[in-house]
Each structure stands twice: as structure tokens, then as C-alpha cells.
Symmetry: C2
Subunit: 268 residues, 2 copies
Amino acid sequence: MTVLPFSPPVSDDALEDAPLRSVSTAVAVLDCFASEAELGATKVAARLGIAKSTACRMLAALAAGGLLEKAGSGRYRLGLRLFEYGQLAVDRLLLREVAMPILGELRETVRETVQLGVAVGTDVLYLERLETAGAGLRFRTDYHRNPAHSSSIGRVLAASDPSLTMAILERGLERRTPFTVVDPRRWRQTLVQTREQGYATCRDEYDQGWSSIAAPILTGASGRRRAVAAVSVVGSTSRVLGPRKPALVQGVRRAAERITVALERAGS
Amino acid sequence: MTVLPFSPPVSDDALEDAPLRSVSTAVAVLDCFASEAELGATKVAARLGIAKSTACRMLAALAAGGLLEKAGSGRYRLGLRLFEYGQLAVDRLLLREVAMPILGELRETVRETVQLGVAVGTDVLYLERLETAGAGLRFRTDYHRNPAHSSSIGRVLAASDPSLTMAILERGLERRTPFTVVDPRRWRQTLVQTREQGYATCRDEYDQGWSSIAAPILTGASGRRRAVAAVSVVGSTSRVLGPRKPALVQGVRRAAERITVALERAGS
DNA sequence: CGGGGTCGTTCCGGCTTCCGGAACGCGGGC
DNA sequence: GCCCGCGTTCCGGAAGCCGGAACGACCCCG
């Protein structure tokens, strides 16, 4: 079991010039369902620029394998088998395994939603999210991926990874709320601050009213340490960045440090 | 958004005579990683009876699409993209959406691990599992699929679905502990009892020391109601089937009923 | 330190199997 | 009831895939 897979391979939408053309096409078909819950053959064909008959066969083949499931009237959606595979993939990460109990304790301590995230491309992918039952307003739970620039976890990860920083800047800092930091200079400044203080914050930048605090999980030999992942606490801005902020910062940092040493101890 | 996909298609390991041979093969390659965390080309080729070169290309193509990731030294593992797809698949289930808050409340009430499961093939697939932080011994969290015959959720589902009952019996009642019900007659009797009392129990049958109580989530017009899913509470046998049993049974049944009506209200 | 075994990857020719266009059947809507 | 749009099926041509063998790297062991 490894800490994290080597390279989260950036998704070239390489439908072109790959070996196993039909397999690449099949993957592209799957990708269509990332942005749409249900699709039929015609729409898939149009989106990928392939023949309708090809799309139909692809859909049928993927459905035969359980990766898609057939809804009524010839439409398809993502299949539950993908859920199984996905659970397996993440269950086998050493990172998640050692982080889980510590995340649980953090949640008990801070009584807010806590998250564990890694970078994939220029996004943050949340491997785990533990919600607190009685934490006032319910946090939206229907996303598992955010643009890294408007996330405290993304900021922590970018702060220790120049190439991620570059990738994020190249993609552009999309505005999501009036508070999103979209000026590249100011955004780089937040990274400097993150490095100095050892944690990052994100105030109202992704969803107005919601803020978060994140701290890095480090790996690698001392002197060449890099953040592979990060822990964060997220909640309404007043709860997270108000009077409790120092306590939350300390809790998040302590949790991240504990995960870091647990990884070293357990890891290869 | 639908309650649940139509037919959890039984996995014919149909590598044979399907259209899109290479896609079917690719899916079969993915399946290899269900039982093994890391595999190389040689082992995949041997397991599927294909040429080593073919396996190598398949692995490379799947890795290019992010469904697999390359570990060091030419071995592969399931990719995080599968986790994303899997989360999407389950996020789009109406069942899970309406069940989540009710499951959360149930967990608060009973202070034990609660689960939401559906049948896929002759197994129970757990769509959700909420653990309680302070619930004594930690429950194993590293499985997402169990044989239905030795699970309270499976018993509830089989009790309302004759074809599932048949499928389970055909597959055979595998013994997992000394307490597993492996005699078909006795097992059918547990289904009768389940139907009579409206809930099912499972005492030490899957993991010795652990037991569970489950109640059905129903769907369909009255008179033709069937269980699409089930809620369960699981914990150490003494805690779950001891003095608290009546309270837990009531809690589980009430939660399942609430989910049932919430589904009717929200569903099509 | 070097050799043999194993494994992942690449190359290439023959041919399997896939692609695209057109036709079919169906369902829903103006 | 007609038409439009959709999912599916059929077919020929040829594109891309499969398998065997060769290559190079790595590791284990002597």
C-alpha cells in the first residue's frame, strides 16, 4: 500500500492518436457523464464527434461491464460498479487509512466538518469529508472536486509545489464570489503567507458565507519535504474565522502533523 | 434523478462474444484489480488468458484515461478518477440523497454504526456507512460488499424478492463463522421470520462478535411494494442484541419508514 | 560483481473486429 | 395521426488490434 499514486496524470482529453482507440473512446464516453447525469447515444456522439452507432455500441459495452447502467428509454448513467471501484481505489491508499482516525478525532474536537484533500490537476479532490451532525447549517456535500485556487487545501498544496502554482496560474483564477482572490500577485502573496505561518485560510472565496482553514501533510526526507495532501476545517465564516480561529488553527495543524508522522512511521 | 438504477446487472464475466471486444477486455482488466491492489502486465495476461502484449496495451490505455495509475516499476493500481466517478454515481441517487440526513439522525440516536445497502447480484453493496466516533471497538471499515446471505440487510432484501432468494440459494450459503446459517431450510425460515416481524437480525454470522439489525426501504405502489434498499445498525453483539435491542429495532424501523415516505414524496 | 531469470515494453504482419452511413422501429409531441 | 427525434441494427470496407518474439531493465542469487 502506498501513500499516494505517483502522478495524478493530467487529463489530456486524448481521444487522438492513442493505442487502443476504442478503449480511449470508451473512457471519453465515461467522461461525458461527469458533467451530465443522464445521456443518450445521440448526445454522446455529438459531444465526442463520433458516429451515433459507435456511441451506441460504446454505451452498450460499458453497460455490459457495469460501468454504466441503462435507465429507461435508452438513456444511460454512471453505474454502481464505479462506486465499488472508487471505494477500492481510495481504501488502498495508506494516506487515507492513517488519516481516518485522526480526522475523526479532529471532528470531535472542533465540531465542524473536516476534510482530507489532494491535488489532481489544478483541482483539489476531497478523499474524505466528515460532517458533524449538529453543526448548524448543513454544508453542501455534493461536490468532490474544487478549483485549487479558491480552496484552503489548494493553497496549502500550491504553497509547497511550484509546478502546481504555475499550473493554477496558467489555468487562471476564476472568480466565484466577490471575495475570490483573482489577482495573480495577491494570490501568490497568500502562498507566501501560507508558507510563513504554516497554514492557509480561505474566506468566502468559494461559497460566500463559508470559510476554511487547512494545514499540510508532508512527506519526503527532511529538507525536501512536500505536501502530498492537506487537512481542512470548513464551516460558516463566523464560526471558523471568528473567535475560535486560533483554536481551530491549532487543531488542524496538530492533526496534519500527527498524520505526517503516522505516515512516516507506517510508510515504506 | 432516480431512486435506483433499473437492474443491477449480474456480472457475466462476458469477455466472450460481446461487441467491442477490446472494451470488454478493458473492463475485465479493471475487474482484476478488485481482488488485488497492484498488478503487472504478466499477471493480468495470465488471469484473463490474453497475450502479455495485449495486457500491457490495455493497462497503458486505462492509465492514460486515469482509470488506472502507474505505480513504480510497471505495476498498476486503481486510479483516483474511479473514486470521482464513483462518488458521482452515488451522489446522483435519489435514494442516497433523501436517506443521508435520516441516517445521520439515526446514528445520533443509537450511537452505533449505521449503514445503507442495496443488492447487487447476490451481494449487499453498502452505499453509505456512518460510524460513531466513540462506539467502543472500531468496526472494520474496509469492505463495501458482503455476501447477502450472512447480512441482515441481505436478509431484508431477499425477504421481499423471490428471485434474489433463488439467486442466493443457487450460489450457496457460504460458512463464515460457526454461527452462519448455512442450511437452506433454516435460512428460508429466517426470511419468513423477517417478513413477519418487519425487520431482520444477523447474529455473529459474518464476523463473530458483530451483529446487526436491518429494516427495509420500500418502493412501488401499495400492494406491490418491494424493498429497494435497507437500513441497518451494526455493532458488537452484546450492544446490539442485548437489552438495547428493542430500542434499536424501533430506531431502525422508524428510519427506514421515514426514508420510504421521503422517497415517495420526492420521487417521481 | 556478474549472470540468469522475470517482468514490462516495443515491434510487426495477418487478420479479426471495429467504424460510419443508412435503414428500421418506436415513442412522444405539436 | 403525422412527423420528428431518438436508440438500435445491419453491412461493407479498412483501420486498428491481437499475438508471438525480440529488447532492455531490474532483481535476486550465487
